[in-house]
């Protein structure tokens, strides 16, 4: 692998003019860091902390060769209410896919470290990895970055989070909606990454 990141590609000519101003969602805090998972000096890890009682739903690729973190997150979905907190930890640069037993070991190590750092069950830590396939994930770099991540969690950090999950993306992606509920406003804010290897088959 290259020792350093290649020069960034210019922004897609089809990109929106700017990243949208996403409404803050009460009960979610974000942090991002450069852990050096694949390239040095590039923000490549994001942590989202979710308030106790958060409901989690998910959809995942149906690929029969899906990565350990996908299988792990699938297994952690539950239709039951939880009073516990939750967290999402994402790294870019290495997909932790097709790495045999080492794949699940990395997922477990990250989930355990996040759970200890944030005081919530490992079963409520959802991880994702994106990047090259077939190289063991240097999860110790992510675990080391947790000190910094856990002390910089910020409700306003969603833009940095959207940037941290990028790989060959040329712009961070965000969208939001607000609606009137019974007795107050309900907000939705989302981020995404994706630019290549894109033909989702989700369920």
């Amino acid at each position: 692998p290259a020792a350093a990141a290649k020069k960034a590609h210019p922004v897609s000519p089809l990109a929106p003019a700017a990243f949208p101003d996403l409404p803050e969602i009460a009960g979610v805090d974000f942090a991002a860091a450069a852990a050096g998972v694949r390239y040095k000096g590039r923000t490549d890890v994001m942590l989202a902390r979710l308030a106790p009682g958060t409901a989690i739903a998910g959809a995942f690729t149906r690929s029969s060769t899906r990565a350990a973190c996908v299988l792990d997150a699938q297994a952690k979905l539950s239709p039951k209410d939880s009073t516990e907190g939750a967290a999402i930890l994402v790294n870019s640069g290495n997909a932790n896919a097709f790495t045999g037993a080492a794949g699940q070991a990395s997922v477990d190590a990250i989930a355990k470290a996040v759970s200890e750092k944030l005081g919530l069950p490992a079963a409520r830590v959802f991880t994702s990895s994106t990047g090259v396939i077939g190289e063991p994930l240097p999860h110790e770099k992510i675990v080391e970055a947790l000190d910094g991540l856990s002390t910089t969690l910020d409700a306003k950090g969603i833009t940095a989070a959207a940037r941290a999950i990028m790989t060959t993306d040329t712009f961070p992606k965000g969208a939001s909606a607000t609606l009137q509920g019974e007795g107050g406003e309900i907000r939705i804010s989302g981020i995404a990454k994706g630019s290549g290897m894109i033909a989702p088959d989700m369920a």
């Binding site: 958060t54 149906r62 997150a73 997909a95 994706g194």
Partner: protein, 216 residues
């Protein structure tokens, strides 16, 4: 790889949240393609913190549940389209509308066959309204189709119908349309009432540059 994280302050039970998410995936993220390759890592997490002052959403048939469902879909579709807009090397955003299919499965099959066709996508990169390649994609899709009932439009321009090139269509007008960044390609199969809209981008030299370099 596509990763998506959506956060809401709604108070809603996990089972209901999952039901809404699962229902919306098919018409949003499962309707996009950049390069026809499905990642081993695609994931979407939807988290509802319950911190909104609004009352809990408990009934799928309630107005607030329907409003929430619609708002969730709008966020998902917006993000899905942004992923296509960032397709590696993309210079055109293409909406493909298939109507008149025998059933919903066929409509999706035809739409994705067109959206995933390298020949359709390179033609569009070259600003060529190459409807012959669209006919090819429909034919190979495996869906029920009849050449003589098929019609193809680029934007509002009818370029082919009834098994022939539309004799009235203007090459100059069509070429001018193809210079737009955002394009609509419509195919009516003339068989039934099922429809599907999907989104893709063109396939350019830029895609090869990026992917030939990625691991070097």
């Amino acid at each position: 790889t596509m990763l998506v994280y959506i956060f809401t302050d709604a108070k809603i039970a996990p089972a209901l949240l999952q039901k809404m998410l699962s229902r919306q995936v098919d018409e949003t993220f499962n309707c996009i393609t950049v390069d026809s390759d499905t990642s081993t890592s695609d994931a979407l997490i939807l988290a509802a913190t319950g911190k909104s002052p609004a009352a809990p959403i408990t009934d799928m048939r309630s107005k607030v549940a329907k409003d929430f469902d619609a708002a969730l879909k709008s966020v998902m579709l917006d993000l899905a389209k942004q992923v296509v807009r960032d397709g590696e090397g993309a210079s055109k955003f293409i909406e493909i509308r298939v109507t008149g299919a025998a059933d919903a499965q066929d409509a999706h099959r035809v739409a994705m066959a067109i959206a995933n066709s390298p020949l359709v996508k390179t033609a569009i990169a070259g600003e060529d309204a190459n409807w012959g390649r669209v006919v090819m994609a429909v034919g190979k899709s495996g869906a029920k189709a009849d050449r003589d009932l098929l019609s193809i439009r680029f934007g509002d321009i009818l370029v082919a119908e009834k098994g022939w090139r539309n004799p009235k269509y203007s090459e100059a007008e069509t070429s001018a349309y193809m210079k737009n960044d955002d394009l609509v390609l419509s195919v009516d199969l003339g068989l039934g009432s099922a429809s599907r809209t999907v989104w893709t981008c063109d396939l350019t030299h830029g895609y090869i540059d990026i992917n030939a370099d990625y691991r070097s």
